[in-house]
Symmetry: C2
C-alpha cells in the first residue's frame, strides 16, 4: 500500500455535519453553517473577524486587492513558497519583489529589513522602491510547513512606519503560535490580512477552502462585499466595483467545523510523527529533520528532510526517485519562484539560500493517520540508503 | 412562510453521494467523483470534453484566458447579463464591448452581425475594432433565464470567418436546446468554450460549481492544466505560466451527480410552473410572461414578468416592493452593465432595448418545489394589484 505525503483523516463528525447541510437545505455559500465555521476558527486563534473563501489562493488574491493596489504596485514575497502566494500578486496586476529565505525555509526578515532600510524611500506616506520607483504596498509572510516567519517587533514596527502592510500566508501553519511573549500569538493574528488554507492536504481540511482573518472591521466588511460579487444592491444588481465569486460553501464549511473540533488531537499526533523522525533521522550522517524555530511552536504539519549530499551520498532527486519506487510519496520543496518562467524578470534581492535549500530539502510523509510501522519503513529506507 | 425566488430541492440521493465521498476519503478536487459528474453532464448535452470548476465565474474567466488574450483585447458581451460575464473579461485585462439585447433579453445577434460587418476590419487573420484599433477575440453569448441566444448559421459562420471565438454562457440554461434542426442541439455545445453553473439557485445545483464544455481536446487539456495551478511538474513544482486554483471539489461534484439524475423531473415541473404563470398572468392587462423563442426549447428556469406600466398602473419597483411586503421574493432583471460604474467608459453599440427591458422586467418565484397554492397566491396578488 502506498504511503502518502499528507492525506486527510475523517473523525466521523464530518458526515454528521454534511447531513445537517442537506437537512437545513443550506449547501451553498453564506448562512449559519459558514458563520459557525468562521466563528470556530476565530475563537481558536483569538481573532475578531474571519471570512471563509473558496480556497487560500482566493484568500491571498482578495487580501492583495484589499490593499487597494494600482497596476505595477509591488509586494514583497519569499522566493520559496507555493506559487499561489506569487500568483495572488500577479492576479492584481502588481509585481512581486523576491526575497531570500532563512535556514528555516522562511522569509528572511533580517534581509527584508535591510532591503526596506536601504533600497526604499518614503513619499507622501507611502514606501517606494529606489530601483523601480514603484510603490511597495505590502509583504507576504509565508509560514511554511508549520513554522512561523520571524515577525520580530523591529520588523513589525518598521513595516508600520513605512506603511507596508503585512499579509500572513498561514496556509500551512494553522495552529502554530509564537511563544516569545506571555500570551501566545497564533499564526494569522499578527498581519493586517491573514490567510488560511483548508485544502485536503492541510492540518485540518474543509475539503477545499480558505479563510481571511482581519484585524480591521471595515476591511472585513469590504472583504465580504468583494467576495460576494460586489453587490451594492442585490435586488437590482448594482455593482460599483469589480468583485469576485469567492464565498466558501456550506458543504465545505461544515466539514471544516467537524475538523477544527479535532485540532488538539491532530497536532498531538503530528508532533509524535515529528519527534520520531527527528530522533531517528538525525542519527543518520548527512540527514537532518528541520526543527521548529526557537521563537514558535509548530503544528508540525509536514516534516522536511535536509540532505547533505556529500555526507549522505544520495541527492534529493535520487531519494525522491528511490522512495517513489517503494510507493512512498515524497515531494521536493517548491522550486524557487524567482527562477520560474513567469516570474524570472521580476526584481530579486540578494537571494542566496533559496536555491540551495530547494536542492537539499524534501517533504516526508506526515499524514495524521501515518502508521508507526509505515513511518519506521520510511526511516529504515533512509538508514539503509534504499539498499 | 416566505415564497423564495429559486431555491434548491433535494431528492434524497445527494446525501447518499456525500456519504460516498467520506467513505472513499475523496472530498477535495480531482479523482473519480469529479470525473463521474463531468461524464454525466457531457452525456446529457452530448459533448466530448467537460471540466468541473469552482463556479461559473471561474469557468468564464478561464474560458476568456483560453483565448490567449493580450491586455486590452476586446470581447463582445450583452449589456443585460449577470456581472460575472463582464468581470470574466476584466479579470483577463481585456475590455468589454457592450451590445444590445433583443426582446427576449438575449444578446441581439442581428445587431452584433451589423457591428461586426460595419465596425471591424480583418488584419493578419484577426478581427480588429475600427473605433479602438484593438483586437476582438470573442463574443460571450449569454443564454438568460433558460432561453437561448439566436445563434443562427449566419452568425456562427461570420464569427468563424472573422476568427471571433464564441463563449456560451449557459449558466441559466442547462437543459435548454435548439429545436430548429433535426438533431437537437443543447446549450453549451455550439460555442468554442461553453460555461455552465451549478449554483444553488440554478436548474440543478452542486451547491456551488461550474463547468466548461470544450469542443477541442487540446483546449480541454490546457484548461485542466490552468485550472490546476499550471503545474508542469508536481513533484518539483515547476510552473511555466500563471494558473488558477479552480478545480471543482468532489463534495460539490457528488451533489451535482445526484441532481443531474433528476433533470427530466425538474424541467417537467418547471414547465408546469411556467405554463400556469403564462395562462393566468397573460390575462392581466399590462402584464405578460416572457415566452421561449420559437427556435429553442427552454428549461424554464426562471419566469420573467414583463410590465406595461401605463396599462397595468404599477411600476416594476412598486411590484417588487409590494411582493416584498407579502414575503414573496422577486428580483429585477440585472441593471445594464454598460451603465454600471466600473464599465460605463467601455464601448457600447446602439444599445436601445436593454434599459427599457431592465425597467419593465422582473423575475418571479420559480423554484422546483413552489407549491401550486403559493404560485396562485403570487398570481392573485398581481391580478388584484396587491389591493
Amino acid at each position: 500500500m502506498k504511503i502518502s505525503l499528507s492525506v486527510p483523516h475523517f473523525f466521523g463528525n464530518e458526515l454528521h455535519n454534511l447531513k445537517q447541510c442537506i437537512k437545513k437545505r443550506w449547501i451553498s455559500s453564506s448562512g449559519s453553517i459558514g458563520t459557525a465555521f468562521e466563528k470556530r476558527i476565530k475563537n481558536y486563534i483569538g481573532s475578531k473577524y474571519a471570512l471563509g473563501v473558496i480556497n487560500c489562493t482566493s484568500a491571498l488574491q482578495l487580501s492583495v486587492r484589499l490593499l487597494n493596489p494600482k497596476p505595477k504596485d509591488e509586494i514583497i514575497v519569499p522566493s520559496i513558497t507555493f506559487v499561489a502566494s506569487v500568483n495572488a500578486i500577479v492576479y492584481n496586476n502588481c509585481k512581486p519583489i523576491f526575497l531570500d529565505c532563512d535556514e528555516n525555509l522562511l522569509l528572511d526578515t533580517e534581509k527584508t529589513l535591510e532591503f526596506l532600510n536601504t533600497k526604499t524611500f518614503q513619499h507622501k506616506g507611502a514606501c517606494y522602491n529606489k530601483t523601480t520607483k514603484k510603490r511597495i504596498l505590502g509583504v507576504i509572510a509565508v509560514h511554511t510547513f508549520g513554522n512561523l516567519v520571524k515577525l520580530s517587533k523591529k520588523f513589525l514596527d518598521t513595516c508600520k512606519k513605512k506603511n507596508i502592510k503585512i499579509i500572513e500566508d498561514a496556509a500551512e501553519s494553522f495552529g502554530s503560535y509564537y511563544n516569545s511573549e506571555k500570551k501566545k500569538k497564533h499564526a494569522a493574528t499578527l498581519g493586517d490580512l491573514n490567510c488560511l488554507s483548508f485544502n485536503a492536504n492541510k492540518i485540518i481540511t474543509s475539503g477545499g477552502g480558505g479563510m481571511i482573518i482581519f484585524k480591521d472591521k471595515n476591511l472585513y466588511k469590504k472583504g465580504i462585499y468583494l467576495a460576494s460579487q460586489a453587490k451594492d444592491n442585490s435586488t437590482y444588481f448594482i455593482h460599483n466595483t469589480v468583485g469576485y465569486n469567492f464565498r466558501l460553501s456550506s458543504l465545505h464549511s461544515s466539514v471544516g467545523s467537524a475538523q477544527i473540533s479535532q485540532i488538539s488531537k491532530i497536532i498531538k499526533k503530528k508532533k509524535m510523527i515529528h519527534d520520531l523522525y527527528k530522533k531517528e533521522i538525525n542519527k543518520i550522517n548527512g540527514l537532518t529533520i528541520l526543527e521548529q524555530p526557537h521563537y514558535c511552536v509548530s503544528n508540525f504539519w509536514l516534516n522536511i528532510l535536509i540532505i547533505d549530499r556529500n555526507k549522505y551520498g544520495l541527492s534529493k532527486d535520487q531519494i525522491i526517485k528511490n522512495f517513489l519506487g517503494k510507493k512512498i510519496e515524497t515531494r521536493s520543496v517548491w522550486y524557487p519562484n524567482h527562477l520560474q518562467r513567469p516570474f524570472k524578470n521580476f526584481q530579486k534581492y540578494k537571494i542566496k539560500n533559496s536555491k540551495k535549500l530547494y536542492e537539499n530539502s524534501l517533504c516526508l510523509p506526515s499524514s495524521f493517520n501515518l502508521r508507526i510501522k509505515d513511518q519506521i519503513k520510511v526511516i529504515n529506507f533512509l538508514k539503509k540508503k534504499f539498499r
